[in-house]
């Protein structure tokens, strides 16, 4: 028994569970997992080309059949790269947005950012002829990703301004504003599609289904710089987002330049979502499910959450894509169906867990 004033504070520290070590180990496991999943996905496909056989032939200096070369290097490999890039981008933008909104339900697909990016992409495809001379040439292959980025950026910015008052984000307002923004973007997209000619219509239909099927090296190279830049920049936001978890004011008190973190997060989300949407259409649920699972496994520290999300997002999307192109081969099931079947139950589960907390 002692008085409050003289409590002894020089004791041996108790056992503190440090989840950061677990998170670092998980990063290693996921790296290996991504390599294995990637290698495995190269061996699977409708064409029946054996990647192992081709590899063996190449190592032994034998001639590889042109068909096998095309299947492996021009069809499966760019598709794999795109899966990794888009999957990583979806998961990381989900985590970034949830950090920004301080809410595990925020996701570009859910709150209209993907729809805004989609509108940008559709505008670029349909209105390319109406652009001033030289603009389309200036952007080249980057026109659609850039337009999608622009659309995503406007949506994210508007959403944030509407849903956040005095540093506090209302979940109900965010979801409702997201629905409104999404509906508006869909309506304008509809008008544009109505205006489109037959060739454009075909492009749009395939694009809008949400798929990696159209993956080419051109598309990979048009999206990769933007996505990689956003993914590489994300870890620098980690400390700021950890602080933001306590609220904007508290983050500022801890020395974080809150406005800069918010601006950079919005731009990163818009850029990565825009690029991903531009090359693959809208693919849902990866951005909700991956960060949520990782938070359960290794905690919400963004320093580990963001890189782990990039890896797990890549693994899941490559896996889902593999299922989508082999389950009813030679036809393909849209990948959105696979991610929805996997993701929707998890999403509902989060909602049930949070029923008492969510203010709606």
């Amino acid at each position: 028994m002692t008085t409050v004033a003289d409590i002894d504070i020089s004791v041996a520290p108790p056992v503190v569970i440090d989840r950061s070590q677990k998170a670092r180990r998980l990063m290693g496991v996921l790296c290996v997992g991504l390599i294995l999943m990637g290698a495995f996905s190269l061996t699977q496909g409708a064409a029946g080309t054996s990647a192992l056989r081709v590899l063996g032939q190449m190592i032994n200096g034998q001639d590889v059949a042109l068909r096998d070369q095309v299947v492996l290097f021009d069809i499966r490999l760019p598709r794999l790269m795109m899966g990794i890039l888009v999957g990583g981008s979806l998961a990381v933008t989900g985590a970034l947005m949830q950090g920004l909104f301080r809410n595990p339900l925020a996701d570009p697909g859910l709150v209209g950012v993907s729809a805004g990016a989609g509108l940008g992409a559709i505008s670029a495809i349909v209105l390319v002829g109406a652009l001033p001379l030289g603009v389309a040439e200036f952007f080249g292959y980057y026109l659609v990703p850039f337009a999608a980025f622009f659309g995503g950026w406007i949506s994210t910015y508007v959403l944030y301004r509407v849903a956040t008052r005095r540093g506090q984000t209302s979940v109900a307002t965010m979801l409702l504003a997201g629905i409104a923004l999404g509906a508006l973007a869909a309506a304008v997209s509809g008008v544009l599609i109505y205006q489109a000619d037959d060739t454009q219509l075909r492009d749009l239909t395939f694009w809008g289904m949400g798929s990696l099927a159209g993956a080419t090296w051109t598309k990979v190279f048009s999206a990769a710089p933007i996505i990689l830049l956003a993914l590489a920049g994300a870890p620098f936001l980690a400390k700021g987002l950890n602080g933001l978890a306590l609220g904007e004011a508290a983050a500022g008190h801890m020395g974080i330049n809150v406005q800069r973190v918010k601006n950079l997060t919005v731009v990163s989300v818009a850029a990565a979502t825009g690029a991903a949407v531009a090359v693959s259409g809208g693919i849902g649920f990866i951005g909700i499910v991956v960060p949520h699972l990782l938070r359960l496994a290794v905690g919400p520290d963004h320093r580990y959450l963001l890189p782990n999300a990039a890896l797990l997002g890549g693994i899941l999307l490559v896996g889902a894509d593999m299922i989508s192109r082999t389950i009813i081969a030679p036809a393909e099931l849209p990948i959105g169906i696979i991610t929805a079947v996997l993701g929707a139950p998890v999403f509902l589960w989060i909602l049930l867990q949070r029923r008492s907390v969510v203010d709606m």
Partner: protein, 260 residues
Amino acid sequence: MLKAEEISVTFGKKPVLSGVEFQAVPGQITSIVGHNGSGKTTLLRALTGDISFEGRVFLNDENITKKPAWELASLRAVLPQATPLAFPFTVIEVVRLGLMAGVNAENANLAVRALKQVGLLGYENRFYQELSGGEQQRVQLARVLCQVWEPVLDGVPRWLFLDEPVASLDILHQLMVMQIAKSFASKGGGVIMVMHDLNLTAQFSDRVYMMKSGTVVGAGSPEEVFTDSQLSLAYSCQIDRSGPSVSTILHPAHIVVNAM
């Protein structure tokens, strides 16, 4: 020293603070009291630079609006009224966020010592969201203490801003928190707190600012400010100070707690 001159704040067209003069010195607890909506928290938020205001605030003789966030963070820590968290952080992870300001670096042991100070040793691995409101508030206090662990660093006093730090606490932990503030001040740090409990304020504060409708109506030692007439004016009701008060029944020296 913290000095605020001519602080005025308006929300929309409504004036919330009008020409407030405020001063606090290190080594003391300075409390702000007043009725609901009198502008206590708004004043605190102006002093911490959270809201835009007219006037000037000098912390250790430097204008706070001219200092970047990271520099202010090494000088002062702020405890808000309540801090809900959306993500499943454990208690120790929340407390360690206080080390982020960088002055105390990644001294993990400090987080445990701070938890011990607020009486939450053994809670390290519990999820913050599962704690009661009072426990969460003490976890946040531990985080804030981590940020400014040394009340004086390199000869420069550091500051604790506490917004109703005891509002959701039981009497034992109210006294515990007030003792922590007292000890911080006694080692040369400055403490500024918004308070509702006038007994605790009288017992622990060196200086009191009493507010009414956005203005300061009394400033000085508790004895000078807490007069019958001033209290009645500030709170618009008759207050009888002659009856037994908590401070006379339960003086902190008589309170004993288990050293956990």
